[in-house]
Protein backbone atom coordinates (compact mmCIF):
# COMPACT_ATOMS: atom_id res chain seq x y z
CA UNK A 1 0.00 0.00 0.00
CA UNK A 2 1.24 3.46 -0.92
CA UNK A 3 0.20 6.78 0.62
CA UNK A 4 0.88 10.16 -1.00
CA UNK A 5 -0.06 13.52 0.52
CA UNK A 6 -0.58 16.82 -1.30
CA UNK A 7 -1.63 20.18 0.08
CA UNK A 8 -3.38 23.16 -1.43
CA UNK A 9 -3.88 26.06 0.97
CA UNK A 10 -5.45 24.58 4.09
CA UNK A 11 -6.62 21.45 2.29
CA UNK A 12 -4.76 18.16 2.73
CA UNK A 13 -5.40 15.48 0.10
CA UNK A 14 -4.31 11.92 0.83
CA UNK A 15 -4.05 9.51 -2.12
CA UNK A 16 -4.29 5.89 -1.00
CA UNK A 17 -3.13 3.10 -3.29
CA UNK A 18 -3.33 -0.67 -2.87
CA UNK A 19 -5.06 -3.02 -0.44
CA UNK A 20 -6.34 -1.49 2.78
CA UNK A 21 -6.29 -4.26 5.38
CA UNK A 22 -4.96 -4.80 8.92
CA UNK A 23 -1.47 -5.47 7.55
CA UNK A 24 -1.25 -2.24 5.54
CA UNK A 25 -3.35 0.19 7.58
CA UNK A 26 -0.72 1.13 10.23
CA UNK A 27 1.74 2.61 7.72
CA UNK A 28 -0.99 4.73 6.11
CA UNK A 29 -2.24 5.82 9.53
CA UNK A 30 1.22 6.90 10.71
CA UNK A 31 1.92 8.86 7.57
CA UNK A 32 -1.41 10.72 7.66
CA UNK A 33 -1.28 11.47 11.40
CA UNK A 34 2.28 12.71 11.37
CA UNK A 35 1.53 15.08 8.52
CA UNK A 36 -1.84 16.26 9.88
CA UNK A 37 -0.43 17.08 13.31
CA UNK A 38 2.25 19.30 11.76
CA UNK A 39 0.00 20.89 9.13
CA UNK A 40 -3.34 21.35 10.92
CA UNK A 41 -5.51 21.22 7.79
CA UNK A 42 -8.96 22.86 7.72
CA UNK A 43 -10.22 20.21 5.30
CA UNK A 44 -8.96 16.69 4.55
CA UNK A 45 -9.74 14.63 1.46
CA UNK A 46 -9.03 10.90 1.52
CA UNK A 47 -8.87 9.80 -2.12
CA UNK A 48 -9.68 6.07 -2.37
CA UNK A 49 -9.32 5.98 -6.17
CA UNK A 50 -6.36 3.58 -5.98
CA UNK A 51 -7.74 1.31 -3.26
CA UNK A 52 -8.29 -2.16 -4.72
CA UNK A 53 -9.44 -3.89 -1.52
CA UNK A 54 -10.86 -2.76 1.80
CA UNK A 55 -12.19 -4.49 4.92
CA UNK A 56 -13.10 -3.13 8.38
CA UNK A 57 -9.52 -1.88 8.75
CA UNK A 58 -10.59 0.87 6.33
CA UNK A 59 -13.45 1.76 8.66
CA UNK A 60 -10.99 1.95 11.55
CA UNK A 61 -8.63 4.11 9.51
CA UNK A 62 -11.38 6.62 8.67
CA UNK A 63 -12.85 6.70 12.20
CA UNK A 64 -9.42 7.13 13.78
CA UNK A 65 -8.46 9.99 11.42
CA UNK A 66 -11.83 11.64 12.07
CA UNK A 67 -11.20 11.58 15.83
CA UNK A 68 -7.82 13.23 15.35
CA UNK A 69 -8.95 15.79 12.76
CA UNK A 70 -12.00 17.06 14.69
CA UNK A 71 -9.58 18.18 17.39
CA UNK A 72 -8.51 20.99 15.07
CA UNK A 73 -12.00 21.42 13.57
CA UNK A 74 -10.93 19.86 10.29
CA UNK A 75 -13.71 18.54 8.04
CA UNK A 76 -13.37 15.19 6.28
CA UNK A 77 -14.26 14.10 2.77
CA UNK A 78 -13.80 10.70 1.13
CA UNK A 79 -13.62 10.52 -2.63
CA UNK A 80 -13.46 8.03 -5.48
CA UNK A 81 -14.84 5.08 -3.54
CA UNK A 82 -15.35 1.81 -5.41
CA UNK A 83 -18.84 0.32 -5.15
CA UNK A 84 -17.45 -2.15 -2.62
CA UNK A 85 -15.62 0.36 -0.39
CA UNK A 86 -18.73 2.56 -0.48
CA UNK A 87 -20.85 -0.36 0.70
CA UNK A 88 -18.46 -1.07 3.60
CA UNK A 89 -18.39 2.58 4.67
CA UNK A 90 -22.16 2.99 4.51
CA UNK A 91 -22.52 -0.15 6.62
CA UNK A 92 -20.35 1.52 9.28
CA UNK A 93 -22.35 4.76 9.08
CA UNK A 94 -19.30 6.75 8.03
CA UNK A 95 -21.58 8.98 5.95
CA UNK A 96 -22.46 10.64 9.27
CA UNK A 97 -18.88 11.84 9.90
CA UNK A 98 -17.58 12.40 6.38
CA UNK A 99 -18.85 13.38 2.94
CA UNK A 100 -18.64 10.19 0.85
CA UNK A 101 -18.55 10.12 -2.92
CA UNK A 102 -18.08 7.27 -5.39
CA UNK A 103 -15.75 7.03 -8.34
CA UNK A 104 -17.57 7.94 -11.52
CA UNK A 105 -18.67 4.93 -13.49
CA UNK A 106 -16.23 5.20 -16.39
CA UNK A 107 -13.29 5.47 -14.01
CA UNK A 108 -14.56 2.49 -12.03
CA UNK A 109 -14.81 0.32 -15.15
CA UNK A 110 -11.34 1.32 -16.25
CA UNK A 111 -10.14 0.31 -12.83
CA UNK A 112 -11.74 -3.12 -13.00
CA UNK A 113 -10.31 -4.01 -16.37
CA UNK A 114 -6.84 -3.03 -15.11
CA UNK A 115 -6.95 -5.54 -12.24
Amino acid sequence: MHTRIETDGQVMTVYLDGELDHHNAPAAREKIDEFAVGFHPAHTILDFGGVTFMDSSGIGLVMGRYKLLVQFSCTLEIRNLSAHAYKVMRLAGLDRIAALSRADKKEAEKHETHQ
Binding site: H22, F53, H84, L91
Partner: protein, 148 residues
Protein backbone atom coordinates in the same frame (compact mmCIF):
# COMPACT_ATOMS: atom_id res chain seq x y z
CA UNK B 1 -25.00 -32.88 1.09
CA UNK B 2 -21.62 -33.77 -0.38
CA UNK B 3 -19.27 -31.09 -1.66
CA UNK B 4 -18.34 -31.08 -5.34
CA UNK B 5 -14.91 -29.69 -4.49
CA UNK B 6 -12.87 -28.97 -1.40
CA UNK B 7 -9.61 -27.33 -0.38
CA UNK B 8 -7.68 -26.85 2.82
CA UNK B 9 -5.11 -24.28 3.67
CA UNK B 10 -2.99 -23.81 6.78
CA UNK B 11 -1.24 -20.51 7.41
CA UNK B 12 0.69 -18.88 10.23
CA UNK B 13 -1.00 -15.97 12.01
CA UNK B 14 1.18 -13.29 10.45
CA UNK B 15 -0.55 -10.20 9.08
CA UNK B 16 1.34 -10.52 5.80
CA UNK B 17 -0.73 -13.69 5.15
CA UNK B 18 -4.08 -11.87 5.23
CA UNK B 19 -3.89 -10.98 1.54
CA UNK B 20 -2.81 -14.50 0.58
CA UNK B 21 -5.69 -16.13 2.49
CA UNK B 22 -8.45 -14.02 0.92
CA UNK B 23 -7.01 -14.28 -2.59
CA UNK B 24 -6.58 -18.06 -2.33
CA UNK B 25 -10.19 -18.57 -1.19
CA UNK B 26 -11.51 -16.25 -3.91
CA UNK B 27 -9.44 -18.05 -6.56
CA UNK B 28 -10.84 -21.42 -5.46
CA UNK B 29 -14.39 -20.01 -5.74
CA UNK B 30 -13.73 -18.95 -9.34
CA UNK B 31 -14.99 -22.38 -10.48
CA UNK B 32 -18.50 -21.23 -9.49
CA UNK B 33 -18.20 -18.24 -11.83
CA UNK B 34 -18.95 -15.53 -9.24
CA UNK B 35 -19.61 -11.90 -10.11
CA UNK B 36 -17.02 -9.27 -9.24
CA UNK B 37 -19.24 -8.16 -6.38
CA UNK B 38 -19.44 -11.70 -5.02
CA UNK B 39 -15.66 -12.05 -5.23
CA UNK B 40 -15.28 -8.85 -3.21
CA UNK B 41 -17.81 -10.09 -0.65
CA UNK B 42 -15.88 -13.34 -0.18
CA UNK B 43 -12.49 -11.62 0.05
CA UNK B 44 -13.77 -9.14 2.61
CA UNK B 45 -15.47 -11.71 4.85
CA UNK B 46 -12.40 -14.00 4.78
CA UNK B 47 -10.14 -11.05 5.54
CA UNK B 48 -12.23 -10.21 8.62
CA UNK B 49 -12.18 -13.74 10.01
CA UNK B 50 -8.46 -14.27 9.34
CA UNK B 51 -7.56 -10.86 10.80
CA UNK B 52 -9.51 -11.74 13.94
CA UNK B 53 -7.39 -14.89 14.37
CA UNK B 54 -4.22 -12.82 14.05
CA UNK B 55 -5.29 -9.89 16.23
CA UNK B 56 -7.46 -11.57 18.87
CA UNK B 57 -6.93 -15.34 18.93
CA UNK B 58 -3.13 -15.20 19.02
CA UNK B 59 -2.35 -11.73 20.42
CA UNK B 60 1.19 -12.49 21.63
CA UNK B 61 2.27 -15.47 19.58
CA UNK B 62 2.29 -16.87 16.08
CA UNK B 63 -0.27 -19.65 15.85
CA UNK B 64 -1.85 -21.69 13.09
CA UNK B 65 -4.97 -20.75 11.16
CA UNK B 66 -6.85 -23.56 9.41
CA UNK B 67 -9.02 -22.71 6.44
CA UNK B 68 -11.33 -25.17 4.73
CA UNK B 69 -13.43 -24.28 1.70
CA UNK B 70 -16.15 -26.53 0.32
CA UNK B 71 -18.15 -25.93 -2.83
CA UNK B 72 -21.60 -27.49 -3.25
CA UNK B 73 -24.14 -27.77 -6.06
CA UNK B 74 -26.00 -24.63 -7.08
CA UNK B 75 -23.33 -22.16 -6.02
CA UNK B 76 -23.26 -22.86 -2.31
CA UNK B 77 -19.91 -22.17 -0.68
CA UNK B 78 -18.86 -22.86 2.91
CA UNK B 79 -15.68 -21.39 4.32
CA UNK B 80 -14.47 -22.52 7.72
CA UNK B 81 -11.78 -20.52 9.49
CA UNK B 82 -10.45 -22.06 12.68
CA UNK B 83 -7.85 -21.12 15.27
CA UNK B 84 -6.58 -22.74 18.45
CA UNK B 85 -6.25 -19.40 20.20
CA UNK B 86 -7.75 -17.78 23.29
CA UNK B 87 -11.42 -18.30 22.38
CA UNK B 88 -14.39 -15.99 22.95
CA UNK B 89 -16.14 -15.95 26.35
CA UNK B 90 -19.42 -14.43 25.09
CA UNK B 91 -20.00 -15.01 21.40
CA UNK B 92 -23.35 -13.21 21.34
CA UNK B 93 -21.76 -10.09 22.76
CA UNK B 94 -18.72 -10.34 20.47
CA UNK B 95 -21.02 -10.33 17.43
CA UNK B 96 -22.77 -7.12 18.45
CA UNK B 97 -21.91 -4.14 16.22
CA UNK B 98 -19.17 -1.91 17.66
CA UNK B 99 -18.18 -4.43 20.34
CA UNK B 100 -14.40 -4.73 20.52
CA UNK B 101 -11.93 -5.84 23.16
CA UNK B 102 -9.16 -3.95 21.39
CA UNK B 103 -8.75 -0.19 21.25
CA UNK B 104 -6.76 1.66 18.62
CA UNK B 105 -8.22 1.59 15.16
CA UNK B 106 -10.38 -1.51 15.60
CA UNK B 107 -13.99 -0.56 15.01
CA UNK B 108 -15.76 -3.65 16.33
CA UNK B 109 -17.50 -4.12 13.00
CA UNK B 110 -15.74 -7.25 11.71
CA UNK B 111 -18.62 -9.61 12.48
CA UNK B 112 -21.14 -7.09 11.10
CA UNK B 113 -19.19 -6.98 7.83
CA UNK B 114 -19.08 -10.80 7.65
CA UNK B 115 -22.83 -10.97 8.30
CA UNK B 116 -23.75 -8.42 5.69
CA UNK B 117 -21.49 -9.91 2.99
CA UNK B 118 -22.41 -13.57 3.59
CA UNK B 119 -25.69 -15.44 3.73
CA UNK B 120 -24.92 -17.04 7.08
CA UNK B 121 -22.20 -16.75 9.73
CA UNK B 122 -21.77 -19.41 12.43
CA UNK B 123 -19.38 -18.96 15.35
CA UNK B 124 -18.34 -21.72 17.72
CA UNK B 125 -15.84 -20.94 20.42
CA UNK B 126 -14.40 -22.27 23.67
CA UNK B 127 -12.20 -20.20 25.98
CA UNK B 128 -8.64 -21.46 25.93
CA UNK B 129 -9.37 -23.83 23.02
CA UNK B 130 -10.14 -21.68 20.01
CA UNK B 131 -12.75 -20.41 17.62
CA UNK B 132 -14.33 -21.67 14.42
CA UNK B 133 -16.11 -19.22 12.13
CA UNK B 134 -18.16 -20.69 9.28
CA UNK B 135 -19.16 -18.39 6.43
CA UNK B 136 -21.87 -19.54 4.03
CA UNK B 137 -22.14 -17.73 0.73
CA UNK B 138 -24.67 -18.51 -1.99
CA UNK B 139 -23.18 -17.53 -5.31
CA UNK B 140 -25.66 -16.62 -8.00
CA UNK B 141 -22.87 -16.09 -10.46
CA UNK B 142 -22.43 -14.16 -13.65
CA UNK B 143 -25.03 -16.18 -15.49
CA UNK B 144 -27.78 -15.17 -13.06
CA UNK B 145 -26.76 -11.52 -13.21
CA UNK B 146 -27.07 -11.58 -17.02
CA UNK B 147 -30.68 -12.78 -16.91
CA UNK B 148 -33.27 -10.04 -17.55
Amino acid sequence: MRPINEMRLQIESRSVNEAYARVAVAAFAAALDPTLEEVNDIKTAVSEAVTNCIVHAYPNEVGKIYIQVRLFERGRMEIRIRDRGCGIADVKKAREPLFTTRGGDRSGLGFSVMESFCDKVRVRSAVGKGTTVTLVKLLHGREASLEP
